[in-house]
């Protein structure tokens, strides 16, 4: 019955025959070139900015004091790397951020997705979520330090709190966004509510969950650093705070550069995991 159709379709789409090697290589080369161009432009912008900054601060010592100069910042970075404080601070703030990021997203996502289960519960919970979400985390910092002390736990708590509501809202939005026709189809295939949840709602929400993950990298970091501002003996927030109160502005910038680097690395890792978990989106 479909034998002729078979052959016709397979031939006309051409997807079943491998693409010639040269064409594949040419396409890969083209993609590589596009990426290289983007990178080169980014580096050029950065260099232009640094040159401009260096130029403006080199002739004016007041400006150099107020804004630091790229070379002074580089010098501080080098010094911090040599005496090991850079690595120690990165490690401390990095682990606070990661823990807060992990716990906050886990709790937020689990709650957010499970709210899909019950319209009743989600309606009950909604105003509370909005209320809690509107609390500025900084306002909680003094209480959190009283509750959890001045060590790691209080920073992780700050970081978690900065993340959890965002994670909850984005994953709940994702779960609500599932096509009702798709749910109907699952039901006609005989799926239980749990099967609809596991086989449809969770994977369909992954895109939104990962959008939340990328967003919350920054929030987790802010939480950790605000926590360090309040009271701490180490970490990037501590370094920024200390250098700032001593008016060593290039050192403030040096610690900021390290903070930015940490955020970039974490975002990059999240992106990698996203691509690993959602291979169908690479196509």
């Amino acid at each position: 019955m479909t034998a002729e159709v078979d052959a016709g379709m397979a031939r006309s789409t051409g997807a079943s025959t491998p693409i010639p090697d040269t064409a594949a290589r040419r396409r890969r080369w083209k993609r590589l070139r596009a990426t290289a161009l983007v990178l080169a432009t980014q580096v050029a912008i950065l260099i232009a900015f640094l040159v401009f900054w260096g130029h403006m601060t080199s002739r004016n010592s007041a400006a150099a004091f107020m804004f630091g100069s790229p070379s002074a910042i580089g010098g501080f970075l080098l010094q911090m790397a040599r005496d090991g404080s850079l690595w120690r601070d990165l490690y401390v703030t990095g682990s606070e951020t990661l823990l807060g990021f992990f716990v906050g997203n886990l709790v937020g996502t689990v709650i957010g997705l499970s709210l899909w289960y019950s319209r009743f519960v989600s309606r009950v919970v909604e105003p509370f979520v909005i209320a809690i979400g509107s609390i500025p985390i900084i306002a909680l910092a003094p209480i959190i330090i009283i509750w959890f002390g001045t060590g790691l736990i209080s920073k992780v708590a700050m970081s978690t709190l900065s993340v959890v509501i965002v994670a909850l809202v984005t994953s709940y939005k994702g779960a609500l966004g599932v096509d009702p026709d798709q749910i109907n189809l699952m039901r006609t295939l005989g799926a239980s509510k749990f099967q609809v949840f596991r086989k449809l709602v969770v994977p369909a929400s992954l895109t939104d969950i990962f959008a939340g993950l990328k967003l919350t990298v920054g929030f987790a970091l802010i939480g950790a650093i605000v926590g360090e501002f309040m009271s701490s003996s180490e970490g990037l927030g501590h370094a920024i705070f200390k250098a700032g109160s001593l008016y060593i502005i290039p050192k403030v910038f040096a610690a900021l550069v390290a903070t930015i680097a940490l955020a970039l690395i974490l975002t990059f890792i999240v992106g990698k995991i996203e691509r690993l978990l959602m291979p169908w989106r690479r196509l």
Partner: protein
């Protein structure tokens, strides 16, 4: 009437009660409305129909007359306001067993390959061991002309191929009854003819029943044993045509050029025109 046990066995044996064959689907005086701003807007007025075993019935009607609503009511996604729906002689709460349901949207899950999409129903029901489910799904994809595409993600398939995967997902657990809502409406003419042809022969081979909702009158006439024309809301049956073109319709193009074919098409057009005015 004797109790026919569960709907599944009843379907397989096409349950016999008092000597008469029980049709897979009987709809009696069903009505359905939606509540909009606190008011009930009637959609389906009073509708009765019977789908017999091995029969293909097409439903045509003006846009918005409630065809999709009817289909969703039949397969238990909505409940009727009044009237009775009997599957193999029994009223079912929730979803009826062994019914295949397919829409214009292919509704493939983008994170599953063609094969995994086709397997979805078998996986959910847990009817078959994983290996057997995979074999059956692969065979069904092959049969529908998708040999070699089992491991492709939907985003890399053409519209026609995706609809074929959706059809494989619908057919692979061998439903007695297929409920299709404009399944081929989004396809180009050529793919449409091919996939219609495949659907009809798979249905006829397996002695399944098919309820096909469509806007395409030629599609309705060329595939169906019976065409039901619906009126505007609140929807009733306006006309029924028994299509006497023979069950063996191998030459779809030739069929469409026959005078009998055009005769049916013209009369159904006329019915719908009156409705539209």
């Amino acid at each position: 009437m004797t109790d026919v046990g569960n709907a599944k066995t009843a379907g397989a044996a096409s349950a016999v009660a008092g000597g008469a064959v029980v049709p897979p689907l009987v709809v009696e005086h069903v009505s359905k409305g939606y509540e909009v701003n606190g008011e009930i807007v009637p959609v389906i007025g009073d509708l009765s129909l019977t789908l017999r075993e091995g029969e293909i019935v097409s439903i045509v009607g003006p846009s918005g007359c409630g065809k999709t609503t009817l289909l969703n009511t039949l397969c238990g996604l909505l409940s009727p306001d009044s009237g009775r729906i009997r599957w193999h002689g029994r009223e079912v709460t929730g979803q009826p067993q062994n019914v295949g349901y397919m829409l214009q949207k292919d509704l493939l899950l983008p994170w599953r390959t063609a094969l995994d999409n086709a397997m979805l129903g078998l996986e959910i029901r847990g009817v078959a061991a994983a290996a057997e489910a995979e074999d059956r799904s692969r065979a069904m994809l092959d049969q529908l002309g998708l040999h070699g595409f089992a491991d492709h993600y939907p985003s890399t398939l053409s519209g026609g191929m995706r609809q074929r995967v959706a059809l494989a997902r619908t057919l692979v657990h061998e439903p007695d009854v297929l409920l299709l809502d404009e399944p081929f409406a989004a396809l180009d003419f050529q793919s449409k003819l091919l996939i219609e042809n495949d659907t009809a022969s798979l249905v006829r081979q397996g002695r399944r029943s098919l309820l096909l909702i469509t806007h395409d009158i030629e599609e309705a006439v060329s595939l169906a044993d019976r065409v039901i024309v619906l009126s505007k809301r609140p929807t009733r049956i306006k006309a029924v045509y028994d299509i006497a073109l023979g069950a063996e319709r191998t030459d779809m193009i030739g069929l469409r050029q026959s005078p009998e074919f055009s005769h049916y098409v013209r009369r159904i057009w006329a019915d719908l025109d009156v409705v539209l005015q």
